[in-house]
Assembly symmetry: C2
Homo-oligomer: 479 residues x 2
């Protein structure tokens, strides 16, 4: 059988959901039907022999009884029925089957490992590609194909391949409000057919993808992965979160997706060698994507100037930035003199970090950045408003009119002038009123494509990683 | 002159705020008057010769012209007038003066260092204690004396001495919604008179204080501090956040509060030796306080069982818990058999971390904890609902009726039965609806005195620190 290309797989126009029932709307099958309808996906077919109707749609006894074409099938019924479903799908000539269903090789039971092998040969014979099993499948914004509600449906440049279905849903859920948009997100679970190597190769050449992110528990073909990573990272930034780096984590990864990484050290050394950006959890992965996407132009060195209010936060910033590998150059006397012209002396500390009482006013912030930006050793700027009194979110001092929108203008002007990235560390809020104010300001800043982080240390970590990546790729033709 | 005791200083009944004006309500002076009135502090006197009235109160030209007693004075006018204000306060026989005013020894200028010395001798001669300069002063809930709005006014067992005014406001602001309540919070800035040693000694004997937290940039009298820390940590848990641990951080601390710590290593070794709990920022300090306050009874070892939903999060939890120094014991076969009676097999992973689809139902969570609690090698339990699909805060699945309140009951019952601590890692929400749902559930769980953390790794770090502290204090008579 002719096997469909990944381009075809990633652009389905009709989807059947096997195992959907109006009773189990809280399970993945029902949740998926709702999410697809919410997203405006063109043709959704619930499949369940026990119902005539589900979610206001006609419900079919099996895939082959659906009238018209079915491109993609999402399977949410027990593993025991996997082969029957594949026969059903083959009869309908579907292109791809995503098994949400778990209980295969990851169970460690030999008959389940064998079952997977039979599934694979059956699918191959029918020209069907398998996604999973044991995963949440596809999120393809331009196809309006989603695996969860509330994910950002506007297409964008980030591809994410994830061995964990949870992470595949959570990364877009949490990255969306920070301005990150996706080309394709693929959760591939046990990687029976489509796995990390094929996806990495595909995204390397995918014109819709500019940044590749990967959550990987284990790699099956080390040599192929090495080549794929090398080619990918020479063409695009590649961010890798390796799950299972401790002994307990490895044991856990084996039970999760039957992954068998032999050596974490070898994997990490390979990532370093190929200049992949390594991160330690999903939130750090989002931070790295935000830095790559919005902290532009990329910093040409590790020097950072930090501005904001509060002596304690300044000390904390100093410790955390230096620990992350960034440097805080001193402020030259002539620059200090310039700053003293518009920053009030009382309560101010004219060092780096710079702390002055009017550093809550967008105009003062913008001017300060412009003046500091003239220093050669300063390659990037951080404005922090978080864990200190002036950013007591919820007291109405950071309204959008007063702060958010003027801040956007001030920052855009400053960045255009100094041609160095400015990042924002907006600390967490503590209560309802604070959260409301924080979310409003975040929305405005993110909407203006500014890089927003949630803490000084995580912002520093992301910038240190991007600076190192950018420096190492040098001018070796990496776009 | 007879010098008032700290007990007297910490129970003022009348306060003058020098520098308050209706024009500068956004500055510390005005902000403080508003906060004191909000808190219901009995007698607040704005002092400013330019006004007759401020914030609806009579405004006085100076402290001595206020009718009746004035116990405490908050000074927010330039350093140049510090000596005049002290004379004015001496004439009025006030007990304590808090200088919010900065621009003293931390400026590095010799005449400012000298000015501080004169202030101190003037205050001593008048029997006045000085707090600061360059700090936000006192937050004493039982006196309804506050330095900011929105701090938790119900008294409790935590004392905080902080060289940073920002941290002194932010710790209670952020710890309040996690159930932490305070005996006394003292921001002491440049430590001209009252400093870290005296406060540590005082809190050691303070019957209202059960936990001592300290943010310290520098120590002036190493020998006295060593003795004070030894005595304190034998009597109460002491949590220390040392600001300025890197070269840049030290430089920053010097400009902030003129602190001159000679060796970070010596300080940290002392903390280890005296079994103080060391943390790396204010949020970690709150985590440690939450663990000490609500993760009771304290764990009798490093073994932890982790339950929740999602394979990816389980792998992440494994890596992060092992990295934090905790152990994840395997689940014995007979315990696994018990769990299989009520946890559905489909999609479940019967290892530690334990992942099952019904681990969102409070009853299943409670039962699971009771069964796992029987394993001797498991000394504590973590339930995580955060960075994974099931905790998609904002979809209404975690309403208070359905989840929050039944969860409180299930957890209280389980903890009473197994006599081991159960901690909750509630991940962040991403958008407005999510935040609203998250805050509601947090409120209910915190209101029931349960230990709530915001991430798996930070929860693990706090528990590892408390376990180590608890083990090391042994039975050496530490309460």
């Amino acid at each position: 059988m002719a096997v469909p290309s990944l381009d075809e797989i990633f652009m389905p126009r009709s989807v059947a959901v096997v195992g959907a029932s109006p009773e189990n709307f809280a399970t993945f099958a029902g949740f998926t039907v709702i999410a697809l309808l919410d997203a405006g996906f063109p043709a959704v077919y619930p499949v369940n022999p026990r119902y005539q109707e589900a979610f206001g749609l006609p419900c079919y006894a099996n895939v082959s009884s659906i009238p018209g074409t079915v491109d993609h099938v999402i399977v949410c019924i027990p593993a025991e029925k996997a082969l029957d479903v594949l026969d059903d799908c083959a009869a309908k000539h579907v292109k791809s089957v995503h098994f949400f269903t778990a209980g295969f090789s990851e169970s460690g039971e030999s008959e389940r490992v064998e079952l997977e092998a039979v599934m694979l040969s059956k699918a191959r014979a029918a020209g069907i590609r398998i996604i999973g099993p044991n995963c949440t499948g596809l999120f393809i914004p331009k196809a309006r194909l989603t695996c969860a509600t509330r994910l950002p449906l506007e297409p964008g440049p980030v591809a994410f391949l994830s061995q964990s279905g949870g992470h595949a849903q959570d990364l877009p859920l949490h990255a969306g409000p920070r301005g990150v948009r996706f080309s394709k997100v693929v959760s591939y679970g046990n990687a029976l057919d489509i796995g990390e190597c094929e996806l990495l190769e595909y995204f390397t050449d995918d014109p819709e993808t500019g940044i590749i992110a990967a959550y990987i528990e284990g790699v099956r073909d080390g040599e192929r992965f090495k080549k794929a990573l090398r080619r990918a990272s020479r063409k695009k930034p590649v961010i890798i979160y390796k799950g299972g780096i401790t002994e307990t984590g490895l044991r856990s990864a084996r039970s999760h997706t039957a992954s068998m990484t032999s050596s974490v050290q070898v994997f990490q050394a390979l990532c370093r060698q190929e200049n992949a950006i390594q991160v330690d959890d999903v939130q750090e992965m989002i931070d790295a994507i935000v830095a790559l996407s919005f902290a532009v132009p990329y910093p040409q060195g590790t020097g950072i100037a930090v501005i904001g209010q509060g002596g304690g936060p300044s000390v904390q910033a100093s410790d955390q930035l230096e620990s992350a590998g960034l440097a805080l150059p001193a402020i030259p006397p002539q620059i200090e003199a310039e700053l003293r012209q518009f920053l009030p002396m009382a309560g101010a500390i004219y060092t780096n970090p710079l702390d002055a009482t009017n550093l809550v006013f967008p105009q003062a912030i913008g001017e300060t950045i412009e003046v500091l930006g003239k220093v050669d050793q300063i390659h990037m700027m951080m404005y922090h408003m978080g864990f200190h009194p002036v950013s007591r979110w919820g007291e109405g001092r950071f309204s959008d009119d007063w702060f958010g929108r003027p801040m956007v203008e001030a920052l855009h002007n400053a960045v255009a002038k100094i041609k160095k990235p400015v990042i924002l560390a907006l600390g967490p809020a503590s209560d309802r009123a604070g959260m409301e104010e924080f979310l409003t300001v975040r929305e405005t800043l993110v909407g203006a494509k500014l890089p927003v982080f949630y803490s000084i240390d995580k912002a520093a970590l992301a910038m240190a990683r991007v600076e190192s990546w950018n420096r190492r790729r040098g001018s070796a033709g990496v776009s």
